[in-house]
Each structure stands twice: as C-alpha cells, then as structure tokens.
C-alpha cells in the first residue's frame, strides 16, 4: 500500500470523524487546521485501527502534527507486519 493511499484513507477517516474543512491536504495540521482535539485524535486512531485491520496495535501519536505525519506512522506499522488498509 502506498503512502498516498494511506493519506487518502486518513483524509476519508477525518471526514468520518466530522471534519468539515473544505479541503483536507496531507500538509494540514490536525489540531490547528482541522480542529482535531486530543480526544478526537484517540477516536481517529481507533478508526484507523479498524480501517487498516491493525487490531489492538498501538499507534504512536506522540509528535504527530499533520495528516502526513499520521499516514507515515501508519505506514511504519504496516511495514512492520500489520494488516493493510482496505
């Protein structure tokens, strides 16, 4: 799975979360641009785990600022043996 498709998955999940920004780009900051607060970040991580079949694997969210940052963390997990985003 490419980084681009993981980014698309994250963007789709942000929409599911209720994020109503006109456009969501990989460079957008989750908190300041998209209004994602700390509890929403936990919900987003839960959505990612379900969507990507990561089960109970922990997504390290420390230092994650942008959509691209989160996609990169997911890619790392997938490369280390996790499941694939559908």
């Amino acid at each position: 799975m490419t980084n681009k498709s993981i980014e698309d998955t994250v963007i789709a999940l942000l929409r599911e979360l209720g994020c109503d920004a006109d456009t969501i780009l990989p460079v957008h900051e989750l908190h300041s641009d998209l209004g994602v607060d700390s509890t929403e970040l936990v919900e987003l991580a839960a959505l990612v785990r379900t969507e990507c079949g990561l089960g109970a694997q922990r997504i390290d969210l420390v230092g994650v600022k942008t959509v691209a940052d989160l996609a990169a963390r997911i890619e790392l997990l997938l490369q280390s043996g996790g499941s694939r985003c559908t």
């Binding site: 979360l17 209720g18 509890t39």
Partner: protein, 369 residues
C-alpha cells in the same frame, strides 16, 4: 453518582446549599430577579406551553405524551453540529437547548452572556451515553469504548458544555443530589447574587433518565420507572429590578431515611420557612415536583393549605403532565412558578416545594407589580 440506599444517613454539604445568613447582612442583600427562562422537554418547549399543559390537564391524570425528544429535534435545539453532539450525553444536549432558550428569552446580548455563570443540578449524570459504552466494553473490549465517555458521563458535563458552547465565563457549579438538585442549584445561584458574589447566573436542572440502568435503579428503590422522562429547565437570575418575578428566600434540608412520605418534616420546614419571610404578598400558587402519585399529592396539598393558614393556593404538580424527570423536576417546578407569577396581574407569591430521596427544598418567589 449512585443512589444512596435508604438506610444510609445523608449529610447535606453546607457550602452554598443551606441558607448562609452570616455571609452578608440583611441590609445589604440584593433583590434577585428572574429575567428569563428556558425549558426543553418532550412535552413542552417553553414555560408558557408547560403551564398551558398543566392547566389543561389539571383534573386528569395522564402519562407523559413522550419520554424522549427525537434525536434530530434535540440536536437542533442544542445548536451542536454532528461532530460535537456525538461526544456528549443527551443531558448535555437538553441543558444546552434549555440554556439557549433562557438566554434568548431574557434578550441577553453576547457581551452579557460572556459574564454570565451557571449553576446546574442533576441526579443521575449521563447514562444514555455510558450504558452502550459499558456494553461495548463487556462484549468487545477496551478498544470499543468511546474516548468521549469520561467527559460525556460526568455530572458536571452539562455545566461544561453550556459554558463552552455559549461562551459563558462566569461562576460555574454543579449540584448532584436527588430530585431537589435543580431547586438547590437555583437556591445556590440566588444566594450568590443576593450576597454580591455574582451578578448574572443561569440556574436550573437537567436529567436524561430514560435508560435501562436508571429504570432498574429506581425499581430497586421501589419506585415505578414507567413515567420517567427527560427534561431541562433553567431560569436566569440577575440583580435587574423592574416588574420581573423575584426569588425572596430559599432553604434546603435533609429528609429522613424512611420508606414512608416524610410529611412531618415537611410540615415543620414549611412552617419555619414561611414564618421567616418578610411582609409577603399572599402565597397564591404552590408547585411541587413529586412524581405522579395521587396519595402524596393530596398529602402535599393538605400540608400547603394548612401552612398558608387556610388560604386556597393553586397547586401544580408538573410531573403529572411531563413525567418524572428526577433532578430536573424541581427546576421545572420553579419555571412553572415563574411563569404563573409572570402572568399575574396583582402582587402575589409562589412556593416551590421539592421533595427528593434525601433532600427537601423550598423556594419562595414573588411579584410586587
């Protein structure tokens, strides 16, 4: 928050709940006016609708028309979008709806709203959100539990959501006791304004009790859960003068742990309360929050008639028409009293009697012109 078993002695915290006469001398106490109100219930969307409902149904005994508002209606009334409303319990949505209506009713501008505070009461906290989460935890594990659970459930959530979304930056407090919680919140707000510790406060109660857990808890206490209904009611208290109804006195008191109705305690408390009032306009209205029970209603009617020395006050039992809304019931009773006084054409006053599992509460509201 749990229901206290009836044999457990109850202590009422003194801070803010019992009348604190030493705080400010009577001479410098301020008049506390009620300048607006808001109601959100499946049966009524305003105080006027509520009083009309009670007047129309006074002779009959009827179950509530509806226990729950439709979700879409509740979301719209709360003013929250989908993204925010999914994070909160129904009791926060109800509180937001009633708070918005009260502020609108008073015609407050946003600058005044910013200085406004809130004292809110409830009895059961946010079980409509929590129960599905507990089932998910049991069936699917921790990963299935919503990250919003803690902030949705806790008893002060309505206070928090109202202050955040309406940008209210004044004093804020939550009272979690029993069916008297809403009136205790109003009493606490009244005392703060009277004693120069606040200028503008929204006060009332909220409850969203229609869940299997709450119904089971009440059944265990020997109460029929069939007439539970959700509701929120707030009044806006201010130092503003003029022809508005005002709150003149408040007291709250513990009730004995007994399975029978504590009539003697209530008789004593009402007598002492009325005895201390200043040269009052006559009590022409009494509103009580007890859930529909003909025997208790008759007992209360008899108590109130004796207490006001043979006068025939008009009695209202709002739970008869809108269902048992627990911690919101006493705030609903206060709103009914406010509306009746607002419609009055001559000086008069109203007694609001709240009876809970552990506490009783009395508010005296009046209007001079």
């Amino acid at each position: 928050m749990v229901l206290v078993p009836i044999e457990t002695p109850v202590e009422i915290p003194s801070e803010g709940l019992r009348q604190d006469r030493s705080a400010v001398s009577t001479a410098t106490q301020r008049r506390v006016a009620v300048i607006g109100c808001g109601v959100c219930s499946p049966a009524a969307h305003s105080a006027k609708e509520l009083v009309n409902l009670l007047t129309a149904r006074e002779p009959q005994r009827a179950r509530p028309v509806k226990q729950l508002l439709a979700r879409e209606e509740l979301d719209n009334a709360s003013g929250l979008g989908v993204r925010e409303s999914k994070k909160v319990d129904r009791f926060s949505l109800l509180a937001l709806a009633a708070a918005r209506r009260a502020l609108r009713d008073a015609g407050l501008k946003s600058d005044a709203v910013r200085h406004c505070g809130i004292v809110s009461g409830n009895m059961m906290a946010g079980w409509t959100f929590t129960e599905p989460q507990l089932r998910a935890l049991h069936a699917l594990g921790l990963g299935a539990v919503s990250p919003y659970l803690a902030t949705a459930w806790f008893p002060a959530a309505p206070q928090g959501q109202v202050t955040i979304h309406l940008n209210m930056q004044g004093f804020a407090k939550t009272v979690t006791t029993d069916q008297s919680a809403g009136a205790q919140a109003i009493g606490m707000a009244f005392e703060r304004i009277r004693d120069h510790r606040a200028d503008l406060l929204l006060a009332g109660g909220v409850e969203a009790p229609v869940t299997p857990f709450v119904q089971a808890a009440l059944t265990q206490l020997g109460e029929g859960p069939g007439d539970l209904a959700e509701a929120a009611a707030f009044i806006l208290l201010s130092t503003a003068d003029g022809g508005c109804p005002a709150i003149g006195a408040h007291t709250t008191f513990p009730l004995p742990c007994s399975e029978s109705f504590p009539a003697e305690v209530i008789v004593r408390q009402i007598a002492a309360f009325l005895h201390e009032l200043p040269d009052r306009p006559p009590v022409q209205t009494a509103v009580c929050n007890v859930a529909a029970d003909l025997r208790i209603e008759e007992e209360i009617a008899s108590i109130v008639r004796k207490a006001v020395h043979g006068a025939e006050p008009r009695l209202f039992f709002p739970m008869r028409a809108i269902g048992n809304c627990l911690g919101a019931s006493s705030a609903i009773a206060a709103v009914v009293a406010y509306e009746v006084l607002s419609q009055a054409t001559a000086p008069c006053s109203a007694l609001v009697l709240s009876v809970g599992h552990q506490c009783g509460d009395l508010l005296w509201m009046y209007r001079w012109s």
